[in-house]
Amino acid sequence: MTSWTIAKQEFKLALRSRWLILMAVLFTLLSVILLFFGGQPVVDGFDGFTRQTASLLNLSLFLMPLLTLLVGGMLIAGEKEDGQLVLYMTYPITERAIIFGKYIGIGLSLLTVLFIGYGTSTIILLFFGTVQWSITILFFLISALLILLFLSIALSIGFFVSGRLQALGMGLLFWAFFVLLYEFIVMALSMVISAKSVLLLLTISVFLNPVELIRVFTILFLGSGTVFGPSIYDFTIWASSWVGATMFGVTALVWILCPLGIAHWILRGGRRI
């Protein structure tokens, strides 16, 4: 028995879950509305940071972490409640394989849902003849990355909590922190510390939150770093270089592996089964 078996099992289970279907419908609906109503390009052929990009980016930044944290956390917590997890533990398989299996399985099912959501809205919009492929693909990739980053956090939540309700609460708490509170906290901090250290603070803050990581680097990859204004110039130049791009990759990887490591630690300690 390997990670792959677990992943397949998880994939099947997840696709049967009502949560995922609900989210798929919700997400399709929202992306259609936004792509259609907010997305009429003013003048053709401009591929920088526009109103459409901004609203789609925000939709992804709000929704993808929420969806992932809730579904991921509750699936694991649910298996715990049902005794499924204890059953797994009796099999000849390492904790690491279980965690990777879960990660891959739930990850794949969420990506499938995402693909269905984007696919459906693209097909719907094709009837109106207004599909901007570059934007659609870009946002599919951003959402996918958000799912992968937040899924590992969701798993460690799932392994930590004792039941579905707790998973829900903690998922919401983490979501509120990463998506909303974090920015307010950094903003407030940046207003009280000395002006000299602001750039350093903002730079560090980007890497300590996956939401910020994706938000900032999406805009940079679009070549629209100037939107951040002249006071962030040094950061923009640095982050747009290959050093910045490498930092982005490494940080994303760390954000996937670290929470999985924590999950492993929890599972191995057996404290929370």
Binding site: L189, V192, S194, A195, K196, S197, L200, L201, P230, Y233
Partner: protein, 153 residues
């Protein structure tokens, strides 16, 4: 858990401590992005640029001494230091220690006609090439430009 908080608090205090006790240093002009904080002009004649460093570490940059004087008239934050540059070499000098030449025919970015130098020798070098100007101290510059500024607007 409390160790994490300790680290956070430490980080914040280091961050906020950074600029506080350090002496005020002039900041380089970046011609890509720096514009005068008063008149919005991008700073291209870098040797005529001036700076005010605020006590909180923020920097206000100007393209002309006249704009700096204009800004000081309505400054709301506490200022730490004022810097001007030697027009010949671009060296930063504290505004109070610099020598100044005034001649309304001198070209300066906003046509205030006041140019700064590190010492009298440098000023003389300039006036042999560009015509004589009257020598001023910084206080006289402020007085002169203050009047000019209020009549201009």
């Amino acid at each position: 858990m409390y160790r994490k908080w300790l680290v956070a608090i430490l980080a914040v205090s280091i961050l906020s401590g950074c600029g506080k006790n350090a002496a005020f240093e002039p900041v380089d002009i970046n011609t890509d992005i720096d514009v005068c904080d008063v008149c919005n002009m991008s700073i291209t004649a870098v040797n005529y640029a001036t700076e005010v460093i605020m006590k909180d570490g923020s920097v206000e940059k100007f393209d002309d001494i006249g704009c700096m004087v204009d800004f000081m008239g309505g400054a709301t934050k506490e200022t730490g230091a004022l810097f001007v540059r030697d027009a010949n070499t671009g060296e930063w000098i504290e505004a109070q220690k610099a020598s100044y030449l005034l001649n309304d025919d001198y070209w300066t970015p906003m046509m205030y006609g006041v140019i700064s130098f590190k010492d009298d020798a440098s000023a003389e070098l300039f006036s042999t090439d560009n015509g004589e100007g009257s020598k001023l101290t910084f206080d006289e510059v402020v007085e002169h430009l203050g009047e000019k500024g209020s009549s201009k607007h």
